[in-house]
Symmetry: C2
Subunit: 439 residues, 2 copies
């Protein structure tokens, strides 16, 4: 049994958190490969080391004196080193970083040092080998992650090792230049390491005990989710959940490896299991609710639209021509509605409307703004009749007007459109009916 | 006040029905322009005159002796003439028809004689002018109805007349060759006459007292609809209602003329008013329910589909390339479902699936067949919260599994997908909750 364990920034923000993380690692010998993030915030007003690095590098690039800022960053690490009582000096590393900053090594290189240095400390403290991610995670010349080459490099470096520390967030081009993933990318690194060496489990340790059924900013102390499938998570993640980077799913999913989201501060909590498929019944009919405000509905009317071959395609062409993706496209007989992100659509609305007229010759086009979309997701919905009835009754009782409903044949989710101002009320009503009242 | 009154085939099937129709016409002097259909069935086992004409012409075209068949048709008309006691001989007309049949005048000409002759009888009986539709309804060289030219011709011929009879179902090209509308096209003629002369009302007299809330083959003696908007009707008509030809809506709608569906056998019934817009509240929250069996769902999965600009357009392109129109396209985050007519799709399914793969590179494509779509339509739904809740609760109680839900921003209808075998149960459940239980 091999586990890859990834620790987030808050789990490694100071020596105390570091000790917790390393105690967790040492608790099970299967936790062989560790992927650390950069030190996160020690308190609400603190700055993440990654942000400090970006800022310092920007100063260097402008030719400003960045030495004091770099010293502050070093102080963050030294505080951890001292607190852990580990015998390690980062003097040489910081000298090198200062040189590279002056030489214009790039923002990606700068940001990657957060994980790199934390990895060095962790390797020293755990007494495990340190593997620079630049040597095992490869991007091709276009900056696209090269899964094949990475797998090959990973196997070369990691095979035969009892354990190792691989810093998260970055990799390198073939020429060694560092390139980072998008923000939060240590999740991806953990997933790539787990997928490449075909680990049995990918443990992702963070500061919450897994996924919640609904957003805790809307629902007070929501229930947590025991087990969620990759597909369910995708349907929820897109709508705003932020526990796990969405691109972190694919590398492990491809290999059938489950992800276990755990809480460094509550290691006894079982957290959430993210799995390909499961016979386990969810605790409630729904697995989760997520949503997002700020959509526009573009309503298109045309008589006999449905019998006109190519009409829908032409309408979508108009959006594509202006670089817009659409969220949903519910349709009646003579009507069709396209939901798009309001912020992307705003600047282009008149051009898109005129393109729709030009390409598809509709009778009318109307735009409605400030719509929120809510996804109610659950593998349990397929086997439970009346889920939709309960959702819409709950919304009616809460006086929420439903502007759009969309449920495809997967029966995994129902998408509901409401006015922005009804967003929180709607989520509360749905949460209550399924979780609080357990209907 | 000017009314255009159209009578269907069952309202003019024999002398007795003819008298009822003409009594209705003479009851109000506003009923100035009359559009008759051809004689319909006198009983369940009878043949419509239009079908007799098609059959007889086919014989003529094959060089067979059609005289006996033509005599049978003449007998139908003579029976009406005798029953009405009107002084009219169709000998000359039938001689001309026989000549035209032999000369290969075409199936359109043949079929049009049903309305033409009925119009002649009606004009004689009412003592009104007869206007041959070939002189006032014009098709362009491509066989497309020419609204502009028709309006001009109508005005020339009808202006100044106190009343007239214009047979339904046909018109002519500029060179005088007859061309018919599609079957049931007398509804269209009535609408065109009403629209062209800007009538105040278009009365469409048939054998039912207007539209029913649901199909009487599924619901025993369903309630009738007092007032329905054009848009509501379109949403219902497409799904299978057959009282009025769907193309009959446009010519009057464009001029803001209401249609009143009336029952020749129950002239005191107020029938159904079809209007552009109305402040009248519908009797029930829903105006009507209609549906159709025999759809296929094509489920397409692709990771990160929603952020891929052009994905939906490419999928629809695959259907368009094979000449298929789609009904609905509900979508989740990584999934999208396209509903198509099963009979159209069956022969082409493998080509379409491979085109989807080629054009859009999805992860998986799955096909589900034997799905029925049900449209629950009502302008009252927008102002009544909880309609969706009641629908889906009712379906759950009836043990109907909902496979698809689709409601756009018009809030005028909700489209529901169920298994073919649940179709009748679903319609009954929805009818009961809104009409019987009046929830």
């Amino acid at each position: 049994m091999v586990k890859v364990v990834k620790f987030g920034g808050s789990s490694l923000a100071n020596a105390e958190q570091f000790k917790k993380a390393c105690a967790i690692i040492n608790m099970e010998k299967e936790r062989r490969f560790v992927v650390p993030s950069a030190p996160g915030k020690r308190s609400g007003s603190d700055t993440k080391v990654t942000d400090m690095l970006y800022h310092t590098y920007d100063m260097a690039e402008k030719g400003e004196d960045f030495k004091k800022n770099l010293r502050e960053i070093k102080a963050r690490y030294d505080e951890i080193i001292d607190g852990l009582g580990v015998d390690l000096s980062l003097d040489y590393e910081f000298k090198k970083i200062a040189e590279m900053f002056t030489a214009g090594a790039g923002r990606d290189y700068a940001a990657s040092r957060g994980e790199y240095l934390n990895g060095r400390i962790m390797a020293a403290y755990l007494g495990r080998e340190f593997i620079d991610a630049a040597e095992v995670i490869r991007f091709d010349d276009d900056g696209v992650f090269d899964a094949e080459k990475t797998k090959e490099l990973m196997k070369q470096k990691l095979n035969g090792l009892d354990g190792a520390v691989v810093p998260g967030f970055y990799g390198a081009y073939a020429d060694g230049r560092v390139k980072t993933f998008s923000r939060g990318g240590s999740d991806i690194t953990g997933s790539i390491v787990a997928g490449s060496i075909r680990a049995d489990v990918y443990e992702n340790w963070t500061d919450v005990s897994g996924f919640m059924v609904a957003d805790p900013r809307i629902i007070d102390e929501p229930e947590s989710i025991d087990t969620i499938t990759y597909r369910e998570l995708r349907e929820l993640a897109y709508m705003g959940a932020s526990v796990l980077h969405e691109e972190a799913i694919f590398p492990v999913r491809r290999e059938g490896i489950p992800i276990n989201i755990r809480n460094t501060n509550k290691p006894d909590d079982k957290g959430t299991w993210i799995v390909e498929s499961t016979a386990q019944k969810p605790k409630y009919t729904i697995t989760g609710i997520a949503g997002k405000k700020g959509f526009c509905a573009v309503n298109i009317d045309k008589e006999l639209m449905n019998s006109e071959i190519g009409f829908g395609r032409k309408v979508l062409q108009a959006f594509e021509d202006y670089g817009l993706s659409f969220e949903h496209m519910p349709s009646g007989i003579d009507t069709m509605t396209i939901f798009v992100h309001q912020d992307e659509f705003m600047d282009k609305e008149q051009q898109v409307v005129s393109a729709i007229h030009r390409l598809a010759d509709p009778d009318t086009v109307e735009i409605e703004s400030d719509i929120a979309l809510i996804a109610v997701v659950g593998r349990g919905m397929k086997s439970t009749r009346g889920t939709a009835g309960r959702i819409f009754s709950a919304l009616a009782h809460a006086n929420v007007n439903v502007k759009m409903i969309d449920q495809g044949s997967s029966e995994l989710n129902i998408i509901i459109g409401v006015a922005n101002q009804d967003f929180e009320t709607a989520i509360k009503a749905i949460y209550d009916i399924f979780v609080t009242v357990k209907l």
